[in-house]
């Protein structure tokens, strides 16, 4: 059993956050999706179909790996939840498979998606290839360059990849373009949103589909250590791997720590640390924290990791931050890259740069985290070797 939808009120409100701030043309589509998901979440056939795919196709459950040599730099027992070993190399497939099944149920022959690092695009292209759905992925121009390997992966999987040159050429611009496509093609098309943000019901659907991370890890770590972790860490872009890892621990006495991208440093202004400097506003369909100027214009972000290079964050994280249930810490490019190399050299695991932010967060906070620390390793680093090769000067003589 891998599909663990949470019990919710179905309104899509997380305290004062969330909502459906979309153009009227999309209201019918998100309402249709909310109804379809409500039906699916209680439907045994849907659960069976999804559980079977997650087991036999994706390879769930993913392992929990203790990393003692890496842990020397933290000062606690450290366990990694290995979403990097999920098929396609990240947690993103959990969501893509679930929503692709939903698209089939809704009778939509076409799926569109946005992608930053390309991992959500690859996961979506994969699910669509598997289920015979037409797939178009929007990706910022800058991201198509720094994640070129994933562009090739999506294309060999049969997806059309559209490079988006507008704005900063990153994730937010890809989302804008996907929304424009959706408005025009909503009858035939499901927008397979990749993170726990956007208008209701996306934050709820994506969270429910990613809860498997935390549900599995919670049981695995208890079996291994006889206790719950003192802290759970995850990187936060839009927030899907983090909410999936955190949610099953909400009622426990466990610290929940999101690591956001501080780029060159929060003080330099070149970062994507939404909680460090953001204000509450409305972007991409929901009320949440965003990086914006005094006029409410979205600020261009910077992060070495394409998957965290986003000015916003999902509404449930904003809620957890406001009520003090989760904490969010900034991690710089340099700290993340150091942690990436550290894990590779101490444990033989090359993490995604996104996930390296969570590793770096644990190194930074260190022994104050407690005795047992769980880190969600959201993805593997193959896609980042070009960036890492340049950063560490790994190629050449």
């Amino acid at each position: 059993m891998f599909f663990h939808p949470a019990v919710g009120d179905g309104t899509g409100a997380f305290g004062r956050f969330g909502g459906q701030y979309v153009p009227e043309a999309l209201v019918a589509a998100i309402d249709e999706l909310a109804v379809a998901y409500d039906k699916a979440r209680g439907d045994e056939d849907f659960a069976t179909e999804l559980n079977t795919l997650l087991a036999d196709y994706a390879g769930r459950p993913t392992p929990l790996t203790e990393v003692p040599r890496f842990a020397e730099s933290v000062g606690a027992r450290v366990f990694l939840k290995r979403e990097d070993l999920n098929h396609t190399g990240s947690h993103k497939l959990n969501n893509a498979l679930g929503q692709a099944l939903l698209a089939k149920r809704m009778g939509k022959p076409r799926v569109i998606a946005e992608t930053g690092a390309g991992q959500h695009g690859v996961a979506t292209a994969t699910a669509c290839a598997l289920l015979g759905i037409d797939c178009t992925v929007y990706m910022g121009k800058l991201d198509t360059e720094r994640q070129a390997l994933n562009v090739a992966r999506m294309r060999i999987l049969g997806a059309e990849v559209v490079s988006v040159p507008t704005g900063s050429g990153t994730l937010k611009d890809a989302i804008n373009e996907a929304f424009r496509d959706w408005v025009a093609n909503v009858d035939s098309t499901h927008y397979l949103f990749g993170t726990a943000a956007g208008p209701h019901p996306f934050p709820t659907i994506v969270r429910d589909l990613q809860r498997v991370i935390g549900v599995e890890a919670r049981e695995q770590i208890q079996r291994r250590t006889g206790q719950l972790p003192d802290a759970v860490l995850a990187c936060v872009g839009g927030g899907s791997n983090a909410i999936g890892a955190f949610h099953p621990f909400l009622d426990d006495d466990t610290r929940l720590i999101g690591c956001e991208a501080a780029g060159d440093g929060v003080e330099t202004g070149r970062h994507a640390a939404t909680f460090a400097e953001g204000r509450v506003g409305v972007l991409h369909g929901s009320r949440s924290y965003f990086l914006q100027d005094d006029d409410g214009q979205t600020i261009e972000t910077h992060s070495i990791s394409a998957g965290l290079d986003y000015a916003g964050v999902g509404p449930e994280h904003s809620y957890l931050k406001d009520i003090g249930r989760a904490e969010y810490v900034p991690v710089t490019d340099a700290e993340a890259m150091d942690a990436m190399r550290l894990l590779a050299r101490t444990e033989g695991i090359i993490p995604a740069i996104e996930s390296s932010h969570a590793l770096a967060g644990a190194v930074k906070l260190g022994a104050c985290l407690g005795d047992v620390v769980l880190i969600n390793l959201s993805g593997r680093g193959d896609k980042d070797m070009d960036t890492a090769a340049k950063y560490f000067e790994l190629v050449g003589e």
């Binding site: 589509a29 804008n176 914006q292 409410g296 214009q297």
Partner: protein, 263 residues
């Protein structure tokens, strides 16, 4: 304070759109003034925004230019003030929601009213989230125009009509702003009319006099944006752009007021 007291349902209205700050703040004021002089009975002044999800390439490019020029919300309000003073036609600010919220909803409404604006068109504020706007708009005597789409259910059309003041905006098609070879919207207009006495204006896709005439045969007003913006984008300089836009608006106005099918 605006002198706007509502549109006629017997006379057809051409509404022209241009973002403030495009091609420059002064250039936009001159262009908007020329638009009113050449047949626009009302104007929509766009508040340039970084993430315009309802706009196609022409308006995206213009908004980006305006932002690169340093256009701020204050500049938009001053543009409204100058154009209102120069033209006397009803002026609506067309804006995504977040800039209003960040400026302060009440403060924005107060300033817009002081500037002589008639109200706002709010393309990404669905009616279920519109109460905060409607409360302050009432207080400052501003109109709030919401968009109905072909995909809106009859129940939502009724809610949109009830929430709107000034006019109801009927999106001719499912899609973003931009020029289209065919423009429809007749069904939606009929559904809106069943729900309200307010005038119904149709926007999205109209770019020439023929289309304006077609739309005016079933709607009370015709809204044109991308075709106007495109003239300025393609012009070698502002004066040429303004001259082109004058010609276009005259053609559109002629189409809007011509009764298709009448002898």
């Amino acid at each position: 304070m605006s002198s706007f007291s509502g549109f006629s349902r017997t006379e057809k209205t051409l509404v022209g759109y241009l973002p403030a700050g495009f091609p420059t703040v002064d250039g936009a004021v001159r262009t908007l003034t020329a638009m009113a002089e050449s047949g626009c009975g009302a104007l929509e002044i766009g508040l340039p925004y970084t993430d315009p999800v309802m706009d196609g390439p022409a308006i995206q490019t213009a908004a980006t230019k305006a932002l690169e020029n340093g256009t701020r919300t204050e500049d938009v309000l001053r543009t409204v003030e100058r154009v209102a003073a120069a033209t006397g036609v009803p002026i609506f600010v067309m804006t995504y929601w977040n800039p209003i919220e960040q400026y302060g909803i009440d403060r924005f409404a107060q300033r817009l009213s002081d500037a002589g604006g008639a109200g706002c068109v709010l393309p990404d504020l669905p009616v279920q989230h519109s109460l905060p706007w409607r409360e302050v708009a009432d207080k400052h005597d501003l109109a709030g125009v919401f968009v109905a789409a072909p995909s809106s259910t009859d129940k939502r059309v009724a809610e949109i009509a009830r929430a709107s003041t000034g006019f109801v905006y009927a999106a001719s098609t499912m899609g973003v702003t931009g020029m289209r070879s065919e423009v429809s919207g007749q069904d939606l207009v009929a559904r809106i009319r069943a729900a309200t006495e307010l005038p119904v204006f149709v926007g999205l896709g109209v770019s020439n006099g023929r289309q304006a005439a077609e739309v005016a045969s079933f709607a009370d007003g015709v809204i044109v944006g991308s075709a106007i913006v495109r003239r300025m984008l393609d012009a070698p300089d502002v004066d040429t752009g303004i001259a082109e836009i004058r010609t276009l608006c005259a053609e559109l106005a002629d189409g809007t007021r011509r009764l298709v099918g009448s002898p």
